[in-house]
Protein backbone atom coordinates (compact mmCIF):
# COMPACT_ATOMS: atom_id res chain seq x y z
CA UNK A 1 0.00 0.00 0.00
CA UNK A 2 1.32 3.42 -0.95
CA UNK A 3 2.21 6.09 1.56
CA UNK A 4 -0.52 8.40 0.32
CA UNK A 5 -3.19 5.76 0.79
CA UNK A 6 -2.02 5.01 4.28
CA UNK A 7 -2.34 8.66 5.26
CA UNK A 8 -5.88 8.83 3.93
CA UNK A 9 -6.85 5.68 5.82
CA UNK A 10 -5.42 7.16 9.00
CA UNK A 11 -7.44 10.36 8.58
CA UNK A 12 -10.62 8.39 7.96
CA UNK A 13 -10.11 6.32 11.06
CA UNK A 14 -9.45 9.27 13.36
CA UNK A 15 -12.43 11.19 11.96
CA UNK A 16 -14.63 8.16 12.55
CA UNK A 17 -13.58 8.12 16.20
CA UNK A 18 -14.35 11.82 16.51
CA UNK A 19 -17.69 11.35 14.85
CA UNK A 20 -18.66 8.72 17.41
CA UNK A 21 -17.75 11.13 20.19
CA UNK A 22 -19.73 14.00 18.66
CA UNK A 23 -22.73 11.76 18.18
CA UNK A 24 -22.58 10.59 21.79
CA UNK A 25 -22.38 14.16 23.09
CA UNK A 26 -25.30 15.16 20.92
CA UNK A 27 -27.42 12.35 22.32
CA UNK A 28 -26.43 13.12 25.90
CA UNK A 29 -27.33 16.78 25.48
CA UNK A 30 -30.63 15.87 23.82
CA UNK A 31 -31.61 13.56 26.65
CA UNK A 32 -30.82 16.21 29.27
CA UNK A 33 -32.72 19.07 27.69
CA UNK A 34 -36.06 17.52 28.56
CA UNK A 35 -35.05 17.29 32.19
CA UNK A 36 -33.75 20.86 32.25
CA UNK A 37 -36.97 22.21 30.76
CA UNK A 38 -38.98 20.11 33.16
CA UNK A 39 -37.18 21.72 36.10
CA UNK A 40 -37.93 25.19 34.72
CA UNK A 41 -41.61 24.23 34.49
CA UNK A 42 -41.60 22.88 38.06
CA UNK A 43 -40.15 26.12 39.38
CA UNK A 44 -42.73 28.31 37.71
CA UNK A 45 -45.65 27.98 40.20
CA UNK A 46 -43.35 29.39 42.87
CA UNK A 47 -42.21 32.26 40.65
CA UNK A 48 -45.82 33.00 39.77
CA UNK A 49 -46.94 33.02 43.40
CA UNK A 50 -44.11 35.35 44.42
CA UNK A 51 -44.59 37.74 41.51
CA UNK A 52 -48.29 37.96 42.22
CA UNK A 53 -47.70 38.63 45.89
CA UNK A 54 -45.06 41.28 45.16
CA UNK A 55 -47.39 43.10 42.80
CA UNK A 56 -50.17 42.84 45.37
CA UNK A 57 -48.04 44.57 47.97
CA UNK A 58 -46.84 47.15 45.46
CA UNK A 59 -50.34 47.99 44.30
CA UNK A 60 -51.90 48.46 47.69
CA UNK A 61 -49.22 50.06 49.73
CA UNK A 62 -46.64 52.71 49.24
CA UNK A 63 -43.85 51.15 51.20
CA UNK A 64 -40.23 52.00 50.67
CA UNK A 65 -37.85 49.09 51.00
CA UNK A 66 -34.03 49.08 50.85
CA UNK A 67 -34.16 46.70 47.89
CA UNK A 68 -36.32 49.03 45.82
CA UNK A 69 -34.47 52.27 46.50
CA UNK A 70 -31.59 53.57 44.44
CA UNK A 71 -28.27 53.80 46.24
CA UNK A 72 -26.29 56.96 45.70
CA UNK A 73 -23.37 56.36 48.05
CA UNK A 74 -21.41 54.10 45.70
CA UNK A 75 -20.90 53.72 41.96
CA UNK A 76 -20.05 50.04 42.02
CA UNK A 77 -22.30 47.87 39.91
CA UNK A 78 -22.38 44.09 40.23
CA UNK A 79 -22.68 42.01 37.08
CA UNK A 80 -23.52 38.32 37.34
CA UNK A 81 -22.52 36.39 34.24
CA UNK A 82 -23.98 32.94 33.70
CA UNK A 83 -21.79 30.78 31.45
CA UNK A 84 -21.18 27.08 30.85
CA UNK A 85 -18.72 24.80 32.64
CA UNK A 86 -17.73 22.99 29.49
CA UNK A 87 -17.14 23.98 25.90
CA UNK A 88 -18.36 22.06 22.86
CA UNK A 89 -21.51 24.17 22.88
CA UNK A 90 -20.92 26.32 19.83
CA UNK A 91 -21.13 30.04 20.46
CA UNK A 92 -23.05 29.65 23.73
CA UNK A 93 -20.50 30.99 26.19
CA UNK A 94 -18.97 33.36 23.66
CA UNK A 95 -22.23 35.17 23.03
CA UNK A 96 -22.97 35.54 26.74
CA UNK A 97 -19.48 36.93 27.30
CA UNK A 98 -19.81 39.31 24.35
CA UNK A 99 -23.04 40.64 25.83
CA UNK A 100 -21.34 40.95 29.23
CA UNK A 101 -18.44 42.90 27.74
CA UNK A 102 -20.88 45.24 26.02
CA UNK A 103 -22.66 45.85 29.32
CA UNK A 104 -19.35 46.40 31.09
CA UNK A 105 -18.28 49.06 28.60
CA UNK A 106 -21.65 50.73 28.86
CA UNK A 107 -21.51 50.80 32.67
CA UNK A 108 -17.95 52.11 32.61
CA UNK A 109 -19.00 54.84 30.19
CA UNK A 110 -21.58 55.86 32.75
CA UNK A 111 -18.76 56.20 35.27
CA UNK A 112 -19.54 53.05 37.22
CA UNK A 113 -17.12 50.55 38.57
CA UNK A 114 -17.95 46.98 37.61
CA UNK A 115 -17.74 44.11 40.09
CA UNK A 116 -17.78 40.73 38.35
CA UNK A 117 -19.58 37.67 39.66
CA UNK A 118 -19.27 34.66 37.38
CA UNK A 119 -20.82 31.22 37.24
CA UNK A 120 -19.36 28.54 34.96
CA UNK A 121 -15.74 27.64 34.27
CA UNK A 122 -15.74 29.12 30.76
CA UNK A 123 -16.53 32.56 32.11
CA UNK A 124 -14.02 32.23 34.93
CA UNK A 125 -11.18 31.28 32.57
CA UNK A 126 -12.17 34.05 30.15
CA UNK A 127 -11.71 36.71 32.83
CA UNK A 128 -8.71 35.07 34.47
CA UNK A 129 -6.89 35.02 31.13
CA UNK A 130 -7.56 38.76 30.80
CA UNK A 131 -6.42 39.31 34.38
CA UNK A 132 -9.67 40.90 35.46
CA UNK A 133 -10.69 40.65 39.03
CA UNK A 134 -13.59 38.33 39.78
CA UNK A 135 -15.28 39.06 43.09
CA UNK A 136 -16.77 35.61 43.41
CA UNK A 137 -17.35 32.65 41.15
CA UNK A 138 -19.34 29.45 41.23
CA UNK A 139 -18.44 26.47 39.07
CA UNK A 140 -19.73 22.97 38.52
CA UNK A 141 -23.22 21.83 37.53
CA UNK A 142 -23.87 24.57 35.01
CA UNK A 143 -26.11 22.17 33.08
CA UNK A 144 -28.21 21.22 36.11
CA UNK A 145 -27.98 24.03 38.65
CA UNK A 146 -28.85 23.12 42.22
CA UNK A 147 -31.34 25.18 44.15
CA UNK A 148 -28.74 25.61 46.88
CA UNK A 149 -26.34 27.25 44.43
CA UNK A 150 -29.02 29.71 43.40
CA UNK A 151 -29.75 30.49 47.06
CA UNK A 152 -26.06 31.00 47.75
CA UNK A 153 -25.62 33.31 44.76
CA UNK A 154 -28.74 35.20 45.78
CA UNK A 155 -27.57 35.64 49.35
CA UNK A 156 -24.11 36.78 48.26
CA UNK A 157 -25.52 39.38 45.90
CA UNK A 158 -28.17 40.58 48.34
CA UNK A 159 -25.47 40.95 50.99
CA UNK A 160 -23.35 42.94 48.53
CA UNK A 161 -26.28 45.21 47.77
CA UNK A 162 -26.91 45.87 51.43
CA UNK A 163 -23.27 46.18 52.44
CA UNK A 164 -21.87 49.63 53.19
CA UNK A 165 -19.94 51.34 50.38
CA UNK A 166 -16.53 50.85 51.97
CA UNK A 167 -17.09 47.08 52.29
CA UNK A 168 -17.58 46.68 48.57
CA UNK A 169 -21.29 47.40 48.56
CA UNK A 170 -22.87 47.68 45.13
CA UNK A 171 -25.55 50.04 43.89
CA UNK A 172 -26.87 47.90 41.08
CA UNK A 173 -27.11 44.28 40.08
CA UNK A 174 -27.25 43.17 36.48
CA UNK A 175 -27.57 39.59 35.32
CA UNK A 176 -26.35 38.37 31.95
CA UNK A 177 -27.74 34.97 31.02
CA UNK A 178 -29.11 33.11 28.03
CA UNK A 179 -32.83 32.91 27.66
CA UNK A 180 -34.23 29.67 26.33
CA UNK A 181 -36.75 30.65 23.67
CA UNK A 182 -36.99 27.40 21.77
CA UNK A 183 -34.83 24.46 20.79
CA UNK A 184 -33.34 26.49 17.95
CA UNK A 185 -33.23 29.95 19.48
CA UNK A 186 -31.49 31.03 22.67
CA UNK A 187 -30.76 34.67 23.24
CA UNK A 188 -28.34 36.32 25.63
CA UNK A 189 -30.26 38.67 27.90
CA UNK A 190 -29.33 41.41 30.31
CA UNK A 191 -31.68 42.19 33.18
CA UNK A 192 -31.30 44.67 35.98
CA UNK A 193 -32.39 42.92 39.13
CA UNK A 194 -31.50 45.48 41.80
CA UNK A 195 -32.68 47.98 42.77
CA UNK A 196 -36.02 46.41 42.02
CA UNK A 197 -38.42 48.30 39.87
CA UNK A 198 -41.80 47.39 41.20
CA UNK A 199 -44.27 48.56 38.63
CA UNK A 200 -47.85 49.03 39.71
CA UNK A 201 -50.12 46.35 38.41
CA UNK A 202 -47.41 44.06 37.08
CA UNK A 203 -49.91 41.21 37.24
CA UNK A 204 -50.03 39.60 33.80
CA UNK A 205 -52.89 40.56 31.56
CA UNK A 206 -55.80 38.16 31.65
CA UNK A 207 -55.53 37.33 35.32
CA UNK A 208 -58.23 38.39 37.67
CA UNK A 209 -57.71 41.72 39.43
CA UNK A 210 -55.88 41.70 42.72
CA UNK A 211 -58.11 41.91 45.77
CA UNK A 212 -57.54 44.18 48.75
CA UNK A 213 -55.22 42.22 50.95
CA UNK A 214 -54.74 42.29 54.65
CA UNK A 215 -51.08 42.05 55.57
CA UNK A 216 -49.94 39.88 58.40
CA UNK A 217 -48.14 41.16 60.47
CA UNK A 218 -47.48 44.34 58.43
CA UNK A 219 -46.85 45.37 54.82
CA UNK A 220 -43.19 46.07 55.64
CA UNK A 221 -42.67 42.61 57.14
CA UNK A 222 -44.37 40.95 54.19
CA UNK A 223 -42.18 42.89 51.78
CA UNK A 224 -39.11 41.97 53.83
CA UNK A 225 -39.94 38.30 53.42
CA UNK A 226 -41.02 38.58 49.80
CA UNK A 227 -38.36 40.60 48.03
CA UNK A 228 -35.30 38.43 48.83
CA UNK A 229 -37.34 35.41 47.78
CA UNK A 230 -38.30 37.17 44.60
CA UNK A 231 -34.65 37.93 43.78
CA UNK A 232 -33.58 34.35 44.51
CA UNK A 233 -36.41 32.97 42.44
CA UNK A 234 -35.46 35.20 39.49
CA UNK A 235 -31.83 34.07 39.81
CA UNK A 236 -32.80 30.41 39.98
CA UNK A 237 -34.95 30.90 36.92
CA UNK A 238 -32.04 32.54 35.09
CA UNK A 239 -29.79 29.58 35.95
CA UNK A 240 -32.38 27.06 34.77
CA UNK A 241 -32.92 28.93 31.51
CA UNK A 242 -29.18 29.11 30.99
CA UNK A 243 -28.84 25.36 31.62
CA UNK A 244 -31.51 24.51 29.06
CA UNK A 245 -29.91 26.93 26.58
CA UNK A 246 -26.48 25.42 27.12
CA UNK A 247 -27.74 21.92 26.40
CA UNK A 248 -29.67 23.04 23.33
CA UNK A 249 -26.62 24.90 22.02
CA UNK A 250 -24.46 21.85 22.65
CA UNK A 251 -26.86 19.54 20.92
CA UNK A 252 -26.93 21.76 17.86
CA UNK A 253 -23.16 22.25 17.79
CA UNK A 254 -22.55 18.50 18.09
CA UNK A 255 -25.09 17.75 15.40
CA UNK A 256 -23.21 20.06 13.02
CA UNK A 257 -19.90 18.52 14.09
CA UNK A 258 -21.20 15.02 13.32
CA UNK A 259 -22.30 16.17 9.86
CA UNK A 260 -18.92 17.77 9.21
CA UNK A 261 -17.16 14.60 10.28
CA UNK A 262 -19.29 12.64 7.82
CA UNK A 263 -18.33 15.07 5.06
CA UNK A 264 -14.67 14.68 5.83
CA UNK A 265 -14.93 10.88 5.90
CA UNK A 266 -16.65 10.93 2.51
CA UNK A 267 -14.01 13.24 1.05
CA UNK A 268 -11.08 11.17 2.27
CA UNK A 269 -12.71 7.92 1.17
CA UNK A 270 -12.90 9.34 -2.36
CA UNK A 271 -9.29 10.50 -2.23
CA UNK A 272 -8.15 7.12 -0.92
CA UNK A 273 -10.00 5.31 -3.74
CA UNK A 274 -8.44 7.65 -6.24
CA UNK A 275 -4.95 7.03 -4.85
CA UNK A 276 -5.49 3.26 -4.94
CA UNK A 277 -6.71 3.43 -8.52
CA UNK A 278 -3.74 5.59 -9.54
CA UNK A 279 -1.35 3.12 -7.99
CA UNK A 280 -2.92 0.18 -9.83
CA UNK A 281 -2.85 2.08 -13.13
CA UNK A 282 0.78 2.90 -12.61
CA UNK A 283 1.66 -0.70 -11.81
CA UNK A 284 -0.11 -1.96 -14.94
CA UNK A 285 1.63 0.54 -17.16
CA UNK A 286 4.97 -0.42 -15.57
CA UNK A 287 4.36 -4.13 -16.25
CA UNK A 288 3.13 -3.50 -19.79
CA UNK A 289 6.05 -1.25 -20.67
CA UNK A 290 8.45 -3.78 -19.09
CA UNK A 291 7.11 -6.69 -21.10
CA UNK A 292 7.11 -4.47 -24.21
CA UNK A 293 10.77 -3.71 -23.64
CA UNK A 294 11.57 -7.43 -23.22
CA UNK A 295 9.60 -8.36 -26.39
CA UNK A 296 11.37 -5.65 -28.41
CA UNK A 297 14.86 -6.77 -27.44
Amino acid sequence: MGAQQRIYKQRIRSTQTLKKMFRAMELIAASRIGKARDRAVKASPYARAITRAVSAVATHTDVQHPLTTERTDTTRAAVLIVTADRGQAGAYSASVLREAERLRLQLEDEGKEVALYVTGRRGVSFYQFRRREIVQSWTGNSDSPALETAQEIGNTLLDAFQAPAEDGGVAELHVVFTQFKSMVSQEPQVIRLLPLEVVDGVAPVGEKPLPLYEFEPSPEAVLDALLPRYIRSRLFNALLQAAASELAARQRAMNTATKNAEDIIRKYTRLANQARQAEITQEISEIVSGSDALAAS
Partner: protein, 93 residues
Protein backbone atom coordinates in the same frame (compact mmCIF):
# COMPACT_ATOMS: atom_id res chain seq x y z
CA UNK B 1 -67.16 25.60 48.31
CA UNK B 2 -63.76 24.12 49.12
CA UNK B 3 -60.46 25.95 49.14
CA UNK B 4 -58.09 25.50 46.24
CA UNK B 5 -54.71 24.98 47.84
CA UNK B 6 -51.30 25.06 46.25
CA UNK B 7 -48.23 24.40 48.37
CA UNK B 8 -45.04 25.27 46.51
CA UNK B 9 -41.33 25.69 47.17
CA UNK B 10 -38.68 27.11 44.88
CA UNK B 11 -38.18 23.99 42.83
CA UNK B 12 -41.40 22.03 43.00
CA UNK B 13 -45.04 21.82 43.95
CA UNK B 14 -45.46 19.87 47.18
CA UNK B 15 -49.17 19.52 47.31
CA UNK B 16 -52.12 20.89 45.41
CA UNK B 17 -55.80 20.17 45.46
CA UNK B 18 -59.02 21.03 47.21
CA UNK B 19 -59.21 21.34 50.96
CA UNK B 20 -61.67 22.11 53.73
CA UNK B 21 -59.27 24.05 55.87
CA UNK B 22 -55.67 25.15 56.17
CA UNK B 23 -53.72 25.92 59.31
CA UNK B 24 -50.43 27.77 59.17
CA UNK B 25 -48.04 29.34 61.67
CA UNK B 26 -48.23 33.04 60.82
CA UNK B 27 -45.64 35.44 62.21
CA UNK B 28 -47.74 36.52 65.19
CA UNK B 29 -50.03 33.61 65.87
CA UNK B 30 -51.43 30.60 64.11
CA UNK B 31 -53.73 31.29 61.22
CA UNK B 32 -56.69 29.09 60.35
CA UNK B 33 -58.22 29.45 56.91
CA UNK B 34 -61.73 28.31 56.05
CA UNK B 35 -63.59 28.97 52.81
CA UNK B 36 -64.68 32.60 52.52
CA UNK B 37 -61.65 33.99 54.34
CA UNK B 38 -60.77 37.56 53.51
CA UNK B 39 -57.72 38.14 51.28
CA UNK B 40 -54.54 38.03 53.31
CA UNK B 41 -50.80 37.94 52.76
CA UNK B 42 -49.02 36.49 55.76
CA UNK B 43 -45.42 35.77 56.62
CA UNK B 44 -44.92 32.36 58.18
CA UNK B 45 -42.58 31.44 60.99
CA UNK B 46 -41.00 27.99 61.45
CA UNK B 47 -43.63 25.43 62.35
CA UNK B 48 -46.06 23.03 60.78
CA UNK B 49 -48.53 23.67 57.99
CA UNK B 50 -51.67 21.53 58.16
CA UNK B 51 -53.99 21.04 55.24
CA UNK B 52 -57.26 19.11 55.63
CA UNK B 53 -58.16 17.89 52.14
CA UNK B 54 -61.78 17.41 51.02
CA UNK B 55 -61.21 13.68 51.18
CA UNK B 56 -58.45 11.62 52.71
CA UNK B 57 -55.87 12.06 55.41
CA UNK B 58 -54.71 15.48 56.60
CA UNK B 59 -51.43 16.67 55.11
CA UNK B 60 -48.82 18.19 57.38
CA UNK B 61 -45.49 19.67 56.53
CA UNK B 62 -42.73 21.11 58.65
CA UNK B 63 -41.42 24.40 57.35
CA UNK B 64 -38.63 26.76 58.31
CA UNK B 65 -40.41 29.81 56.91
CA UNK B 66 -42.45 31.03 54.01
CA UNK B 67 -45.56 32.99 53.30
CA UNK B 68 -49.18 32.42 52.55
CA UNK B 69 -51.67 34.23 50.38
CA UNK B 70 -55.43 33.84 50.37
CA UNK B 71 -57.43 35.33 47.55
CA UNK B 72 -61.11 34.35 47.16
CA UNK B 73 -60.60 30.74 48.24
CA UNK B 74 -57.35 30.31 46.34
CA UNK B 75 -54.70 29.56 48.92
CA UNK B 76 -51.06 29.66 47.92
CA UNK B 77 -48.54 28.55 50.51
CA UNK B 78 -44.93 29.27 49.66
CA UNK B 79 -42.78 27.14 51.92
CA UNK B 80 -39.15 26.77 52.81
CA UNK B 81 -39.07 23.04 53.48
CA UNK B 82 -37.02 21.68 56.36
CA UNK B 83 -36.20 18.54 54.39
CA UNK B 84 -35.68 17.99 50.72
CA UNK B 85 -37.56 14.75 50.92
CA UNK B 86 -40.78 14.49 49.01
CA UNK B 87 -43.84 13.59 51.12
CA UNK B 88 -45.19 11.44 48.31
CA UNK B 89 -41.92 9.54 48.22
CA UNK B 90 -41.24 10.38 44.59
CA UNK B 91 -37.68 11.61 44.58
CA UNK B 92 -37.13 14.40 42.13
CA UNK B 93 -34.41 13.92 39.54
Amino acid sequence: MPLKVEMVSADRTWWSGEAQSVGAPAADGDLGILPGHQPVLAVLRPGTVRVRPSGGEPVTMDISGGFLSVDSDDVTIVVDPTTSEDPAGTVEN
